[in-house]
Assembly symmetry: none
DNA sequence: AATGAATGAGAGTTCATTCAT
DNA sequence: GATGAATGAACTCTCATTCAT
C-alpha cells in the first residue's frame, strides 16, 4: 500500500543519496528512478523537472537543519551552554543525517537552485550566528564580526565532519566534545 | 608561436574556471574548447579524456597548494610562528588562486578522481598537520589527535574563504590575522 | 445520470476540437481526457486506442457531411437549383460545424485512417459529384469529367471557408450566394 | 565531398517529404536523420530544434511558390492572359514540386510556425490576388472582393491538385487548361 | 599538429496505455 | 464501470569523442 506521499519520499530519499555522492549533473534521472524503485516517468508526476527535485531537497533539509539547531535552545542559559547547544545539535544532525549534510554542503550556492532555495540558504544559520552578536557585545566572545566568528566555527564543524567521512577521525562523543571546547576557545574573549 | 606546453596550459586554465564554477559534469567539452580557444579535437591530443583533465588539474593545484604552504617554512621558529606561517600561506593561496581553491574544495573525494589524485588528496596537508604532532607532544597545543586539530583549523580556513566568496566577509589582512589568532587559541594547550 | 453513450460523445466532442486545432499526433490522450472530463483510462473502455478515436470521428463527421448535403435534395428541380442546394448545404455545414469541417480537411487521407474511413472518404461527396454526370450529359454543365468539375467546386468552397477561418472574409449569406454564382458559372456549359 | 550547404539541404529535403506525408508531430527526428542519411546529432548543428526545420522549410517553399507565380509575369498583357499566367504557373509549381505543395497546404497556419513564417504566409499570394482589384475595378471580373475571388480560384486549384494526388484526375495540360477556363468564367464579369 | 563537423549513446522528458483500486 | 497513478518506450536534444581534412 504505497500512497502518494510515500512515492514522493522514495524519490527524494534516492535523490538525496545520489546527489550527495555524484552531484546534480552526475546523476541521471533513469538511475534515480531505479534507485527509488519507480518508473522514470513517475518522477515527473511528482516534480516538474530534475531541478525541482534538487530544490525540494535543498529546502527540506536546510529547513530540517535549522529546526535541529534551534530545537530546545536554552534561551536563558549562559553563553557557553548556548554555544554547546549549537555545536552538539549541529554535530548530531551531521551524524544522524550524513547524506543530507553532505548534500547541503555540496550544493551550497549551486546555480540550479532557485530563488526560494537561495533565500533560505543563508538564513538558516543566521539565528545561530546572531548569537555571536550578543556575546561579542557582552565581551564574552571576541570583538569580531558575527560573520567571521560564525564562519570559523561552522567551517571547523564541516572540517571535522569531512574528516570523519574520509575515515581519518571517528566522531565519538569525546571527539565532538573536544572539538567543541576548541571552538569555544577560538571565539571566547 | 604556441608550443605544446602553452596549449596544454590554455586548456587547463579554462578547465579550472569552468570546473570551479559549474562542476565536472556540468562542463561540456566543446564549451571548454571554446573557452580555451582551441579546437574540440585538440583537447584529446593533450588528454586521454575528460576525466584526465580533472585529474591533471587536481594533481597540479593540490601540489601547488602543498608547495605554497611549505615554501619558506621557518623550521627553527617557535610553534606560534610556524602556525602563523601555515595560516598565512594558506590564506594567501586562497586569495591569489580563488578558482583553484574552489576547484580543490568542490572536487574533494570526487568519484571521477583516479588513484593518483586520491593518494595526493590527503597527503598534501599532512606535513602541515604533522606539525601538530610535535606541538601536542610538547604540550604547546592540546593533547588531541593531529587529524582532529588539523581538520578544525583547515575547516575554519575553508569556512572563512567561503564566506568571502559569498560576500559576507572581506578578506583583509586584519580579518585573516584575527582569524589566525582565533584558530591558534582553538588549538593551543 | 451519464450513460454509456453520453461518455463516448463527450470524448468524441473533445477529440474533434483538439484534433482540428492540433492535429492527431499533436494531441495527447491525457489532455483529451481532461477536455472530455473523464479519466484517461475511461477512454480505453470506449475506444481500442487513439487511432480508433480519430477513425470514429472521421466516419461520424464524413457521414454527417454526406447526410447534410443530401437532406431535402430537390430531386425534380432544375440543375441550377440542385447545384444551389449542394452549395448552400455544404456552406451551412461548414458554418455550423466549423471544427468538424476543419477536422475533415486536416485529416483527409491521413496515414492513420483505417480502411473503413478511407473507403468512406471519397464516397461521401460522390453522390453530389455524380450530379455533374447528368448535367454534363444534358449539356447544362461543361463536357468535363465529374471528378474535375467536382473538385473545382469543392475546392472553391474549401478555399472560401479557409479564408473565413483566417478572418479574410466574413461568411455572410451574400458572400455565400455570390460564391455560389461564381462556381455555377465556372461549370455551366 | 559533402559541404556544409549540401548537408543542410539533405536534411531539408528529407524533412519536406516526411512533413508532407506524416505531418510535423508525426515525424520523429531520428527518422528524419535516417532519411537524410545523417546522424541524429548532426541535425542540431544546422537547426536549433525541430521547429526551426519546419519554419525554414515553410519560408523556403512559400518563397519559391511566390517566385514561381511572379516569374515572367506579362505586365502589359490583357487580364485574361495574366490570369492564365497565374493559373499555369501555380499548376506547374504544384506538378513539379508536389511534396512542397502538399507541405505548404498541410502546414498552413500551423501553431508551430513562427512570426516570420506567419507573416510570409498570407503575403505570397497577395500580389496575385491584387490582380483582381484592378480587373474588378475595370469591370473585367465580378464586383466582388479581392479575397473572395482569390480564395475561390486558389481553392479550386488546390482541389484540383488534391484530386490528382488521390488519383481521381490526371493533371494533363488539357485538364489544367480546362480548369483554368472554368475558373476564369467563375470570376469574369 | 590542429581542427571542428559529425556522430550515436545517452541525457531529460512526454505520453499511449495499463491496471489496482 | 470508472478512475488516474504508474509505466517504459520513444520522444527531442546534448555531448564526449572521433576522424577526415
Amino acid at each position: 500500500m504505497v500512497d502518494r506521499t510515500d512515492k514522493r519520499d522514495l524519490i527524494l530519499t534516492a535523490a538525496l543519496g545520489l546527489f550527495a555522492e555524484r552531484g546534480f549533473h552526475g546523476t541521471a534521472v533513469p538511475l534515480l528512478a531505479d534507485e527509488a524503485g519507480v518508473g522514470a516517468g513517475t518522477i515527473y508526476r511528482y516534480f516538474a523537472n530534475k531541478e525541482a527535485i534538487v530544490n525540494a531537497l535543498y529546502l527540506k533539509w536546510k529547513w530540517e537543519l535549522g529546526r535541529a539547531i534551534m530545537t530546545d535552545f536554552p534561551v536563558s542559559a549562559p553563553a557557553r551552554e548556548q554555544f554547546r547547544h549549537f555545536w552538539q545539535k549541529s554535530a548530531s544532525f551531521a551524524c544522524e543525517n550524513p547524506l543530507a549534510f553532505k548534500f547541503l554542503e555540496l550544493h551550497h550556492h549551486a546555480p540550479y537552485l532557485d530563488k526560494d532555495a537561495r533565500l533560505l540558504e543563508d538564513q538558516v544559520l543566521a539565528p545561530a550566528f546572531q548569537f555571536f552578536a550578543t556575546t561579542s557585545a557582552n565581551k564574552i566572545t571576541k570583538p569580531l564580526s558575527t560573520e567571521l566568528l560564525g564562519s570559523l566555527v561552522w567551517g571547523a564543524l564541516v572540517g571535522l565532519v569531512k574528516s570523519a567521512w574520509d575515515g581519518r577521525i571517528a566522531l565519538t562523543a569525546d571527539v565532538i566534545d573536544a572539538a567543541e571546547q576548541c571552538c569555544w576557545e577560538a571565539i571566547r574573549a
